[in-house]
């Protein structure tokens, strides 16, 4: 259980691991996530969306960006090593159905959770347009996999080093103006990107689903740490989400709450770098 079968580096900060997790692989549906913890006593619990699963092999694929102490340590685990605690699948699965034309917008690491959704939407018989956005060329991930399930694929980078030099909202707006406007937009990425995707589609009244990466503890609806205001009501991302109607989410409040522990997280990550450097030194490297 929880053994890392395979590890690959997708870009400077982004890793992909395949983990032995037969029960999760069997039950998971697109849109769901896991919570993992590397040390039962002092580790923190972090949610990661399931990017893919293989129920025959009994494995799930996780893609993560090194942003803090835990993701840093996770990236340091080698093939064959064990993730101490892994629980899931959590959250409500995506509502996959035939809607007509579906646009999937993925920003940065958000392409990982988007992948199984795109796969599902394509299988359900939708015409699928995918927009991938990243800061620069080497941060574009899963392009081949997304291309394989999409009828059209548009790649944009902020600096123009690959694909169009644009923010994802630009092609999204163009799609909204097409004669056959999309019936559904699914946008997953940094909160600010999701916010502006929702703003882009709002005037056209196109239903826009976003997936929120809230701060979580239990992931089962106990602690309330993952709460977010949706349509003026407090909702809980782990049991009511992670997907919500992007037109109703209070993104500004959500972003502020995400930053609640930023200072402490940065300090911890910094300390983790120092500790690791010290360890390497001790090991005589």
């Amino acid at each position: 259980m929880n053994r890392i079968i395979n590890k690959a580096k997708l870009s400077e900060e982004v890793y992909m691991i395949r983990v032995e997790a037969p029960l999760i692989a069997q039950e998971r549906r697109p849109g769901q996530f896991v919570i993992l913890q590397l040390d039962s006593d002092f580790g923190e619990r972090i949610p990661l969306t399931i990017a893919d699963a293989d129920s025959v092999e009994g494995s799930i694929t996780l893609i993560f960006q090194v942003v803090g102490k835990t993701t840093h340590k996770l990236a340091d685990l080698e093939e064959g090593e064990i993730i101490e605690n892994l629980v899931g699948p959590l959250g409500k699965p995506t509502d996959i159905a035939k809607f007509g034309t579906v646009v999937c917008v993925g920003g940065g690491i958000g392409v990982a959770p988007l992948h199984p959704i795109a796969q599902g939407m394509k299988r359900a018989g939708n015409y699928l347009v995918t927009i991938l956005g990243a800061r620069q060329r080497d941060l574009v991930i899963l392009e081949d996999r997304m291309k394989a399930v999409s009828d059209e694929l548009i790649v944009c980078t902020d600096d123009g080093s690959y694909g169009r030099k644009a923010l994802v909202t630009e092609p999204l707006k163009e799609l909204c103006e097409r004669a056959t406007a999309p019936n559904l937009v699914v946008a997953i990425g940094p909160p600010i990107m999701m916010k502006f995707c929702a703003e882009t589609t709002r005037p056209y009244g196109i239903h826009t689903v976003v997936s929120l990466n809230a701060i979580m503890m239990d992931g089962t609806g106990m602690c309330g740490g993952c709460r977010v205001t949706v349509g003026g009501k407090a909702m809980f991302t782990c049991v009511d989400g992670p997907e919500f109607d992007g037109h109703l989410v209070d993104f500004d409040g959500f972003m502020k709450r995400l930053g609640a522990y930023r200072k402490q997280e940065e300090d911890a990550h910094e300390q983790c770098h120092l500790d690791m450097a010290a360890q390497r030194k001790e090991a005589g490297q």
């Binding site: 259980m1 029960l23 999760i24 039950e27 913890q37 040390d39 039962s40 006593d41 002092f42 580790g43 923190e44 619990r45 102490k69 835990t70 101490e84 605690n85 892994l86 629980v87 899931g88 699948p89 959590l90 409500k92 503890m217 239990d218 992931g219 089962t220 609806g221 106990m222 602690c223 309330g224 740490g225 709460r227 205001t229 407090a234 809980f236 049991v239 209070d250 409040g253 502020k256 709450r257 930053g259 609640a260 522990y261 402490q264 997280e265 911890a268």
Partner: protein
């Protein structure tokens, strides 16, 4: 600077409280020696003790960690009786024939019986009597609201016209339970021969642990599924170390394992596996659900979505389960606030306030809508909180939370209240005093005003009937709307107590054992082929 402030605050509130304490400031050794002398005197008397003599024995104070010292550590506050104190306290019991105390106990422990054994110094017999009715005496001896249960009814307390002078039933219970655990003498209960039947238990809180043990004793295989990475439920993530040391909960979980109960952590029933699949596909013959309370309530006031506002559940889980109080070692961050407000008046509010003190806040303000008399928290907890310098704001409530542009909390606007007519609960309803707004300077707000129910199982098991609050509907045996599925504890009662959860686990276990005693038609092939799912493969 910081510590100075803390001590100042403490002195301030102690002065305010004056003579309210009946906690002893004597050391554990002093109390033991005093009790030793009393005991020697009592045992030397020629005539048997008459009720009058027993009533004259001084009630024994609980030795406690010094209030100033404990503000900066997580160690247990109440230190527990010595053998001498336990025996003296037990000698105060007059062995009422009608035993009113037993009627006050939700699980009907033979209180005069175990207290009598303790009075004779037979602590082994004493704990054995308790264990016939209660599975978690070390826990209950610490966290049960005895002053509202057994001790409220105690004749000694009534005669002396002071519930605090009742026989210290809980403290004796704690002593005999700790003695057994610490001596390693705890005997495993007898387990009947394997029946080949198996039962799933959802959740490892007091309800789940009790049900698992009682079902296992009948010889059925039991698997406990726990969503978290550690077993114990609220006992590990809610109730802090300083009130219930985690090693005690760990010992209870280990005792379960020693009985042959399989404990599977990181398993969310409903998500990792559907509830019904446990019966339909995995061959479980019955299920007990003890999934506990869920989603915290909020006040729905402006500013509640600011980053420095969090639920008590989140705050306590960070501190207890994730050990965030150990800022050096733990990866999980926790608020680092200077002035903290806690909203609420129950145990959860007290635990939050006292945890905030220990995390180093300069000021902790507890804001409660009614008066101290209506506080649902245990009296001992309220006292301890005051001793530790928590500043009580009674008949006040938050109106809105004030923040800056960065959505950080910078204060809380409150309203004053007065007590009006009694409401449905019989408590006098607090009525707002118009125009009484004022602001307290705080930089974090912890909301501890209660819980809704955990929505997850209902969401994933639509046929499972719940009431309008989302609690699972179960009859007096714990039976739910689904065949072979039972439930108990907070998920049925709403937020209740450890002992009530335990009692419900016990009742449901008895019903499950009865159900499984009846021959029923399960295809043995189905059972055999599906055992692999929850067998060792998982672990």
């Amino acid at each position: 600077m910081h510590t100075n402030n803390a001590i100042l605050t403490w002195q301030r509130s102690e002065k305010k409280l004056g003579s309210e304490f009946h906690m002893s400031h004597k050391t554990r050794d002093q109390l033991r020696d005093e009790a030793g002398k009393i005991l020697a005197d009592l045992l030397n008397r020629k005539d048997p003790l008459k009720p009058k003599d027993r009533l004259a024995i001084p009630s024994q104070d609980m030795p406690a960690q010094d209030a100033v010292q404990r503000r900066s550590n997580m160690n247990e506050v109440a230190l527990g009786f010595s053998a001498e104190q336990a025996q003296v306290e037990a000698l105060r019991c007059i062995q009422c024939r009608n035993a009113p105390c037993v009627k006050g106990c939700p699980v009907r422990i033979d209180i005069p019986g175990f207290v009598h054994a303790a009075a004779e110094g037979d602590f082994k017999k004493s704990i054995d009597i308790i264990k016939a009715s209660s599975l978690l005496p070390s826990v209950c001896g610490r966290v049960c609201p005895q002053e509202a249960q057994c001790q409220l009814e105690c004749t000694v307390g009534k005669t002396l016209k002071d519930v605090d002078k009742a026989v210290g039933i809980g403290r004796i219970e704690r002593f005999v339970a700790d003695l057994e655990r610490e001596s390693g003498a705890a005997s495993l209960p007898f387990i009947k021969p394997e029946t080949g039947k198996k039962v799933a238990v959802v959740g490892s809180g007091p309800a789940g642990i009790t049900a698992a043990a009682d079902i296992r004793r009948e010889g059925h295989a039991v698997t406990v599924f726990e969503a978290f990475h550690k077993p114990g439920g609220v006992m590990v993530y809610g109730i802090p170390e300083f009130r219930l040391p985690k090693k005690i909960v760990e010992a209870e979980a280990n005792a379960l394992k020693a009985m042959g109960v399989e404990l599977v952590t990181n398993f969310v029933v409903g998500r990792t596996r559907k509830l019904k699949d446990l019966i339909d596909k995995d061959g479980f013959d019955a299920i007990f659900i003890g999934s506990g309370a869920g989603l915290p309530k909020f006040l729905n006031i402006p500013g509640e979505d600011f980053a420095g506002v969090l639920s008590a559940n989140e705050f306590l889980t960070r501190s207890n389960l994730m050990k965030a109080y150990d800022r050096e070692k733990a990866d999980t961050p926790i608020i680092n606030a200077r002035k903290v407000a806690v909203l609420g008046g129950g145990n959860v509010a007290m635990d939050s306030a006292r945890t905030a003190v220990r995390l180093g806040a300069d000021e902790v303000h507890l804001v409660y809508r009614r008066t101290e008399a209506e506080m649902p928290a245990r009296v001992e907890e309220v006292q301890h909180a005051k001793e530790e310098g928590v500043i009580f704001h009674l008949l006040q409530n938050a109106k809105r939370i004030l923040g800056n542009d960065a959505h950080q909390v910078i204060g809380m606007e409150c309203l004053k209240y007065e007590l009006g007519e009694p409401d449905d609960s019989g408590r006098r309803r607090p009525v707002v005093i118009a125009g009484s707004e004022f602001v307290i300077d705080v930089d974090a707000v912890i909301v501890a005003i209660g819980n809704e129910s955990n929505p997850l199982l209902k969401q994933t098991t639509p046929d499972l009937d719940t009431n309008k609050w989302g609690n699972i509907i179960a009859d007096e045996n714990g039976s739910t709307s689904l065949d072979r599925v039972y439930a108990g504890g907070d998920i049925v009662l709403g937020a209740a107590t450890v002992i009530l959860a335990m009692g419900q686990g016990r009742t449901a276990a008895a019903a499950i054992n009865e159900l499984l005693a009846q021959p029923h038609s399960v295809d043995p092939l189905v059972v055999a082929s599906s055992t692999c799912l929850t067998g060792k493969v998982l672990l």
